[in-house]
């Protein structure tokens, strides 16, 4: 049994320790918001937070997160901590109508949340560099970038 926190809930899973966290989330815990894209940490669709850091869950053995706190897109809103239904990033994503097919968007959101955690007021270059490892095959990049800026503004209470 491997124990860890997922979206603030204690979980115990019975799986080989080298099983990628991605499949544990999706098929053991029914958290299918986290997506399988490339399997080799090149697309970012599987991005989750492990102890607050963005991680590619497709190459993260579940044993390595024992005792850690994992956050997925399903738990993102709760990390904003004010009881709202949407994280400021999710609200911004809707405001600018960022997703097209939507498949990469959970990963984009989790990467963006990690970016804003480290750089609360990112420049355009900060955003581009911070998001460069997340592929959007629909190429909705213009709106993703716009949404991150909008969310940063909202998070900073409109201060700039």
């Amino acid at each position: 049994m491997i124990s860890f926190l997922v979206n603030n809930v204690d979980v115990q899973v019975d799986a080989p320790g080298d099983t990628p966290l991605l499949w544990i989330l999706r098929d053991w815990l029914n958290l299918t918001g986290t997506k399988f894209g490339c399997g080799v940490a090149q697309c970012g669709a599987c991005t989750v937070h492990v102890d607050g850091q963005a991680r590619r869950s497709c190459v993260t053995p579940v044993a390595s997160v024992a005792g850690s706190a994992v956050t997925t897109v399903e738990g993102l809103a709760a990390t904003a901590g004010d009881g709202r239904e949407l994280h400021p990033l999710q609200a911004a994503w809707i405001e600018v109508q960022a997703p097209q097919c939507g498949y990469c968007q959970s990963g984009q959101l989790m990467q963006a949340a990690a970016l804003l955690g480290e750089t609360p007021d990112p420049s355009d270059d900060d955003i581009r560099n911070g998001m460069a490892a997340n592929l959007c095959r629909c190429m909705a990049y213009v709106r993703i970038q716009k949404a991150i800026k909008l969310a940063a503004l909202a998070q900073n209470g409109g201060r700039k």
Binding site: D27, G33, K35, F36, Q42, W93, Q97, C101, R128
Partner: protein, 754 residues
């Protein structure tokens, strides 16, 4: 003049034969039906939507949602004529049922091809509700109006909910009644050309949207395919799963014995979890007998070059006059050969399908763009009636044409049959890429003759490529315009440009070498993605050769003469609209000031009319590039596109499609390609296949010319003018002409020396 008749005869006939072949009847094609279904649930003026007793308007959407927010766009069309309250409108993506007719999502067709039928359906509902509402209000019909899901008479109103729940709507419509309905004048529009939030977006930001890969059913097991060395010509001699059997959770290996011949030499590894199935697939040792018919990229390109020079090959897509005579007699001929390399879909949701049997009915859950072509295939593979097979609908994690022909459902279904339990088959990314249905390599030869003033006297375009339709749905092949042989219009669309030409011939040539190697597919922008590369590069070359400004030269050729004058309703205005978007983009991009750009920077212009002449989306693009003359590296600084797509059903969705498709065009121009080696793409994952990332995004400037004309396509047309605009900008910057896609630095350097 002879041309392949795309929509009027061949196309409808093909849909008809599809209906026969698949058991699908096109909606409304039944003999003498009455539309208008009154049931306890509500009222359905036609099968495209239902108004329930509580006033909800459920719009039945048969088109796949793969990023276009298509449900929103189609529901806006219904709401417009129905005079609905938008808050009451819901989008329902339906599962396969013969009553929906042909189910296909491709060609950028969805809005265009649904527009009339959905508009009339909406109008029929409005008429029925107005009549019933007027009766209930005791008011003269002529004094009542429908608005926001109410029938109003002066200050009094009755809601659609109350009208429907009272059971007083009884109106039915014949096919002729529907056709006779006059649609609202544009001045009365309240939904079209006006924005609304897309209905699919919220579920796509909180993880609740359900894609093919997300479905789960009781008793389900997981599988990964074990693929043969190449697409075709393999059979299994022996296999051994001894090593896989040591894996805890490994269940079985299924040999895919496929009566349809779709899967040639496939096995499927089945396990309790996907990671175990994935590992097991790597451990299964298989020996194959292979016919060795697959070619390399270079061999496919060499064959293309040979084919375009061989006058006995090819079917005629369009011919007017006798260009060959003029070419033979010409003192000066301009000739160019343009090539594109293999490109891959790389939709982010790896191919997958879940199949299971429930009683006598088989179910499939998988993303799907063309249910009508895959459902019969899967039924045949399973040996069951099509009536006993249902494809459930989910969102698609990218379609881009790869989910039109869903042959990957066959091994999932056969594995589920063999295992006697539900099987979810998921391809590893490398599996998905190996058996992609790529855009094949293409070779095109263009020859043209001009008079002293630059007018096109003769124009000859021959294009050699794979023909996706030959592999996927041969009934869709059109007869050649001269009656000899066939043409895949989806391999040549876009070559029939809108420039005035005294004589021309356009031919499509199918490469058997491509077909022995890969299953060539439809890839976003399809043929115009490469034919327009050739046409717009060639026209630019002509302009420079003649010493003309490329914009001024195009202007002179866009005289809207003859068939270039367009046709109603789909192409009202013809080349005049193309000229209008060109004039606007020149203004926006600062074309007249381009000579002031620093050395090694330049602007290039290209026009696009994708996806087909019977549904032209008018686009003009100016690219501004900077070229590093030492390395040959090209940086695109700005892309400006002006688009006339007629009425926009969902303007913000339209803008999103153009934003994304312009970047697709840039990605295909500079960043994407692979090469076939021994029958497989060399690049199997995103470490070496490198679509554009956020750091590569240039400044985008997009404008729609707004009007009330017939809506046309928007999913793909934004792609097609980007690459030639960039190529033409490179020439403007440094005088180097590139004729191959993608444009690699080495090719730019080589062209500088040329």
């Amino acid at each position: 003049m002879s041309a392949v008749d795309v929509t009027r005869r061949w196309f409808l006939a093909s849909l008809g034969s599809a209906a026969v072949a698949t058991g699908f009847l096109p909606g409304g094609a039944q003999a003498g039906p009455l539309f208008g279904d009154v049931s306890s649930r509500g009222y359905s003026p036609t099968l495209w939507y239902e108004i329930s007793g509580d006033g909800r308007i459920l719009v039945h959407v048969t088109r796949a949602e793969m990023g276009q927010h298509i449900g929103t766009a189609l529901a806006r069309i219904v709401a417009e004529e129905l005079e609905a309250n938008w808050d009451h409108v819901e989008v329902v993506h339906v599962d396969t049922d013969p009553r929906w007719g042909v189910m296909i999502t491709g060609g950028s067709w969805s809005v265009h091809k649904s527009f009339e039928e959905l508009s009339r359906a909406g109008a029929a509902g409005r008429i029925a509700l107005l009549e019933a509402g007027a009766r209930m209000l005791g008011a003269p019909l002529k004094d009542c109006v429908a608005r926001a899901s109410e029938v109003r008479h002066g200050a009094r109103a009755i809601s659609y909910a109350d009208i429907v729940s009272s059971g007083s709507v009884t109106r039915q419509f014949t096919e002729e009644d529907l056709k006779a309905i006059a649609l609202k004048p544009a001045s009365e529009r309240r939904f079209l050309n006006r924005d609304a939030a897309a209905r699919d977006v919220p579920s796509k930001v909180n993880g609740t949207a359900v894609y093919g890969i997300d479905r789960k059913v009781d008793g389900m097991v997981f599988a990964r395919p074990v693929l043969p060395p190449t697409r075709y010509g393999n059979s299994i001699v022996s296999w051994d799963d001894g090593a896989a059997r040591k894996l805890p959770g490994y269940l079985s290996t299924v040999v895919i014995d496929d009566p349809t011949g779709t899967c040639q030499g496939w096995l499927v590894a089945v396990a309790e979890s996907w990671p175990v199935a994935a590992k097991a697939a790597d451990l299964i040792a298989v020996s194959y007998r292979s016919d060795g018919g697959a070619a390399s990229e270079d061999q496919m390109l060499a064959e293309g070059a040979r084919l375009v020079e061989n006058p006995s090959t090819g079917g005629i897509f369009f011919q007017e006059g006798d260009p060959l005579m003029r070419i033979a007699e010409a003192a000066a001929l301009h000739e160019g050969v343009y090539r594109t390399h293999t490109v891959l879909h790389m939709h982010l949701e790896a191919l997958n399908a879940l199949a299971w049997q429930d009683g006598s009915t088989w179910h499939v859950h998988a993303g799907n763009q063309w249910q009508s072509v895959t459902l019969p295939l899967v039924a045949e593979a399973l040996g069951i009636d099509q009536a006993d097979l249902v494809f459930e609908t989910s969102y698609l994690g990218g379609g881009f044409g790869r989910r039109l022909y869903c042959e990957y459902i066959v091994p999932a279904a056969l594995a589920a049959k063999k295992m006697g339990r539900p099987v979810k088959l998921i391809f590893a990314r490398s599996d998905d890429t190996k058996f992609d249905q790529p855009r094949s390599p293409t070779v095109q030869r263009l020859r043209s003759v001009t008079d002293g003033r630059g007018a096109l006297l003769a124009y000859d375009h021959r294009c050699a490529s794979g023909w996706p339709t030959r592999s996927i749905f041969p009934e869709f092949l059109a007869p050649s315009a001269d009656g000899h042989g066939t043409v895949d219009v989806f391999a040549i669309n876009g070559a029939d440009h809108w420039y005035d030409t005294a004589s021309q011939r356009i031919q499509a040539i199918c490469s058997d070498v491509v077909h022995a190697t890969m299953l060539p597919g439809y890839l976003r922008s399809v043929a115009p993605g490469y034919t327009t590369w050739a046409v717009e590069t060639h026209i630019d070359e002509l302009a420079h050769k003649l010493g003309r400004d490329p914009a001024e030269y195009r202007r002179a050729l866009l005289g809207a003469k003859g068939r270039n004058g367009g046709a109603a309703p789909h192409a009202v205005g013809g080349a005049n609209r193309l000229r209008a978007v060109m004039e606007r983009v020149l203004e926006k991009a600062g074309w007249s000031a381009r000579e002031a750009l620093p050395p090694s920077k330049g602007m290039g212009l290209a026009l696009g009319t994708g996806q087909e002449r019977d549904m032209p989306t008018w686009i003009a693009t100016v690219a501004q590039v900077a070229v590093d003359t030492h390395s040959g590296a090209v940086t695109v600084e700005r892309l400006t596109s002006v688009v006339d797509a007629g009425t926009l059903a969902h303007p913000d969705g339209a803008l999103a499609q153009v934003e994304g498709s312009m970047l697709w065009g840039l990605s295909l121009a500079l960043f994407e390609s692979t090469e076939y080696e021994k029958g497989l793409p060399r690049d199997l994952n995103l470490d070496t296949y490198t679509p554009l990332r956020m750091t590569d995004v240039p400044e985008l400037d997009i404008e729609f010319l707004r009007n009330d004309h017939m809506p046309v396509g928007l999913g793909e047309p934004g792609v097609i003018s980007i690459a030639p605009a960039i190529g033409n900008a490179i020439f403007a910057a440094i005088g180097a002409r590139v004729r191959d896609l993608p444009i690699r630095p080495a090719a730019v350097r080589a062209a500088m020396g040329a």
